[in-house]
Symmetry: D2
Subunit: 372 residues, 4 copies
């Protein structure tokens, strides 16, 4: 019996995303034939007690209240950052300098400049990096990408993308860090997903025209007063892709009634695709090549035909869940480190999205089209 | 038994739209308790023969190859123009001058200036006018308008509108008058409906930023060569409404797979509506006031609760068809002439849409936001 | 110019269905190139006044309070019966004896024996007859029938049919003639449509097992008391078709929330179809022959590819309405009389449905399978 | 820091279901605050090598090729049986006799008699048992059950249930153990889920009328010949519930195009619910109490309002997957053992389903209604 090499994880943070990452590591290990074993080595949190408790709950062997101690530990291969956004850059840069691979939750950094700096550091150090854009790991999105690349839609002509939710729709909900310019607003928070999906499917965006709007101008400050909101609640953009296609996206967190409207529709000369994250185990495909009188959007249900769905369910139609997308992301990142394939969404990709967001914001502020 | 007064129609043109109008007159008369009787008086077409044959088929009492003879006939009350677009202005202006009411197919005129001139002529003459925007006659759109006006959605925050079809998606289909700048392109042809619906629901649009794109740059000219296409195949716009809400629309005639995607979604502080013309007997309503754990978009099916649906079907769920929308349009226009109510979509309204379209086109050409 | 022959109608009854028939005659004439002209000759109603008023409103040339006078009038070709069900048989038999063609609203008669007698009378007299099962006139149902007949689904294996509504769901609504055994109950009223569609698509049903249930045992009698309900509110059946396939249907008028759930799903060895009258301009088609990973139910939208849709709308996706189905029914009946084709749903067909309903009811009462 | 007690698992079998169970144990532990720790103690398989390899891959501490050794090991608390169906009874009875709790994949046993014997053994020994009916663990099914129990639908009147797939639709696929009478057929395999859901929602079924059909009469025997199929490909039943409601179900494994049509619709006097496993993160709710003109089926999306969804995703609309249902099942079983609550689906429940299946099969064979 051969033994697989081991990759050891040092996790920073034990909140919701920390838990989700641990879940992803565990599921990836169980579901995929990974070329390595994943070892949950050390968990770092604010206090010794918190770290020890989380380490025990999450199955880590060690814990610490000083994340820097993990950097000097040669047993640890990957630093996984789920700490507050403001700390991402410092942690990542130091971890890369210490020779670690780095997995970081989105957004990578508050500014494109910071994100680019992080990407450059990783590249020059040869670190493998990952930002958590797990919607892209959906087998149906990969199917869409493959169909487009294979020419099943013909020449691509138009694109519409969305990511709309309503979790900020209540004007009486208090001001949070997300309403701070550093937090970024709806375009940065949700529109970033719409942008990532757009480039995932159609390739680079070359030019944008933005329209960012603050719908709820102030929110309760938690001390009886109100605080002005400076970020957008709705961020729209017209897009020009490098391949000549045009399109639009919208990020919106005041879209009452919508919980996960991460949707797209793309039209080509020979066919079209329509997708909604609200039913993300489906992809709707129209083929202009079907027989006359028999054409229509086909509801393709996720099935073992659409890897890696079959890793989760041996039969079609059973459906994978949101957390399974995280496991796919982890598995591909682990494989990238093991050398089999490129990272699914590296710091460079994360910096790219940040650049798109900022360019759209600037375009909106100046009311002019801008090249990306 | 009292006798109703009669309104007599002089129809110009006997093509598809002419037939649809006659169908609308007949159905309106049968379905509604109109305050007048409609009499199909004279049909005008290019030749005496064509006019006579169409008059017989359509049930008109008289026919002529000279539409101007109808203007001097005191028995005729309404001139109904379904002739080619280029002739609309001349015919309408002369008919108004002759004291007639005028019903005209869309688009009212190739330019906003012409359309405004026609509207002004009608207004100074006291003529009742109508442009055929019959999607607005859908009981479910009226329900939407009422719900918004009544505050059921709360303060309106965001709007998305569409009208996408694929009837121009085949690049091998020949150049037609619609590809001529006079014809207007996808924004003028289909986007105009999206704009009409947007203003119908939310009131005036104050400012626009356009993005008009020619996707298929040339088309067969029918003589073995190709002719460049100068109009847009996709026309998008960002919108600012006078009420403070923002939104976007798209007109698209190369949207492969889409036959009638005249859709909208509108989000308010208390609820949302979602609609697709592909299933135009439904309106989807989300109420944030529903009990927790029981909220969701409700699929409201057209029913006698939604006038004038009950005129067509006594029971819910039976569904009206596209031609029934035309009958509603006719009925309301007839009532407007009889004095009961304002015209549902007058020349002034038609000119307004033309102005919106042109402003968006100019905005696209100059790449700048423009006030309407 | 050639003149078409004329078929003259004598209508009995001016209620909702009478109006719907007139609407059907008018639309059929306008929409189709019928081989004859339809003339609305005489309308018969209870009193002279009622008849005269309705004749005027509906466009009939004459009126009468004695329907029998129409039978002796050689100018009248078709007697159209929309009088109460209890009178259908007497009227139809006399009209047939007088040499008329007869169009009769459903149900043809309260019992299969009566209905068969009516069918036999028509056949021996050579009268062309029609019962109003207009759902079958839907272009998408015809498409389904054609696809099945052409083998596009392969060998047919299983069928599920429904017709469920909720118009009797309120237990406080009063007892009506429909709750009387003569009225028939949900199976007779709605299940009859499900049965008609099943045989329309798959051919004759050979054997049935019924399950008929009274859910609301008594209803207000309008005089402060209650009256027991003896008919079924839900009627279900297992089916064996002569072609070897099996299936089930349900008729249900207490299906809260359902307005027009006239649905079916049929599975063959090579494909499947799924349909709902709630969206009757769509047919969903699954082809097992599509490429692996690209299979799914296709939403085919009604289009000019699906005759006679194109008679109503020149473009796909516009959608026909319930009343247009009536116009198609009328047109085909008129053509049958003119000699071009068989009647779409003759008295014999109507008697067949009545036989199926009664056999299911008896099967339910005896709790045994019965041959039809 | 307090230490939780540990429950140790002895797993028999390492195929797909074995893997799914291990996945369930791991996820349950990570996602829920279980009152105990789960320890993967020993894995038993046919050979020492197979067992050792699977134990290593799945994370078990020990392995064996003799499952009986686990029974005598006092460290092991739960025997988890994913071996072939024919062995379930022997293994379960011996494990119970050895004082173990037993978790067994469905079907519990080929006959109701065997299953009942297993249930009786467990009950008299006080063993906690579980059969894998994980569709019932869906938060949206639990919501449905709660709404019905709370009277939100009023008095229940009618029910339709389904479980249809197409994995046996290809007549050229070979004969398998599932086509053997011991295997049970479509009703036993899929219809059992429809029956379980029906009783989960509405309580006990009192009487049934079955209709079981073999559609593909013989299948390739793998040796160039064919073997007759004696089990049903489609199994239907009429149902009478003890609460007075009536309904129907269908189990079907030749339903071309359907991958997971585990659906139901239930109508009450005040409301209705509609569900499809194809989109199992949604429940559609119609409330007759909504305002007139505003009624319609609401698409409720799974959210933290619907426990235990929030354990998997902190935000609505993200969607759980099929494997998450397994984790919920495991968690509840573990809690039942720890004493907090009844087993979610015990051997008694499994025997009940087997009884229903057999009664329907007998009813079909004798063509008579039968009490359960």
């Amino acid at each position: 019996m051969t033994t697989k090499p081991t990759l050891s994880i040092g996790l920073i943070g034990s909140g919701f995303m920390g838990k989700a990452h641990v879940f992803g590591f565990a599921t990836a290990q169980k579901v995929f034939d990974l070329p390595v074993d994943i070892h949950l080595h050390t968990l770092a949190d604010i206090t010794d007690d918190a770290a020890a408790r989380a380490a025990r709950d999450f199955g880590f062997s060690h814990s610490t209240s000083d994340w820097r101690t993990m950097l000097s530990n040669p047993e640890i291969d990957i630093i996984d950052i789920t700490a507050p956004n403001a700390l991402h850059k410092e942690m990542a840069i130091e971890a890369i300098a210490a020779g670690k691979h780095v997995y970081c939750e989105k957004p990578l950094a508050p500014t494109a400049a910071d994100a680019s700096e992080m990407a450059a550091a990783a590249e020059s150090a040869g670190a493998k990096t990952q930002v958590g854009f797990n919607y892209l790991c959906n087998p149906m999105l990969r199917l869409a990408k493959e169909m487009i690349a294979a020419g099943e839609l013909g020449e691509i002509r138009g694109y519409r993308g969305l990511h709309a939710e309503d979790y900020m729709a209540n004007a009486n909900d208090p001001y949070t860090f997300r309403h701070d310019p550093e937090g970024g607003g709806a375009l940065a928070d949700l529109g970033s997903h719409a942008l990532a999906t757009a480039e995932f499917l159609l390739g680079p965006i070359a030019e944008v025209m933005g329209d960012c709007i603050t719908v709820i101008p102030e929110r309760p400050d938690g001390r009886g007063g109100h605080k002005p909101v400076l970020v957008d609640d709705i961020g729209r953009a017209f897009l020009r892709f490098a391949n000549g296609a045009s399109g639009s996206i919208e990020g919106n967190w005041v879209a009452t009634g919508r919980k996960m409207q991460h949707d797209f529709e793309v039209h080509g000369s020979k066919g079209a695709l329509c997708f909604s994250q609200e039913r993300f185990n489906e992809l709707h495909f129209y083929s202009a090549g079907d027989a006359p009188g028999r054409r229509g959007f086909r509801r393709i249900e996720a099935a073992p035909d659409h890897p890696p769905y079959g890793r989760f369910c041996v039969a079609p139609g059973h459906q994978i869940g949101f957390n399974d997308l995280k496991a796919i992301e982890v598995a591909e990142y682990i494989r990238a480190i093991a050398g089999d394939q490129p990272e699914p969404f590296s710091f460079r990709d994360g910096a790219r999205i940040q650049t798109l967001v900022e360019t759209i914001q600037k375009s909106s502020a100046t009311r002019r089209w801008m090249a990306v």
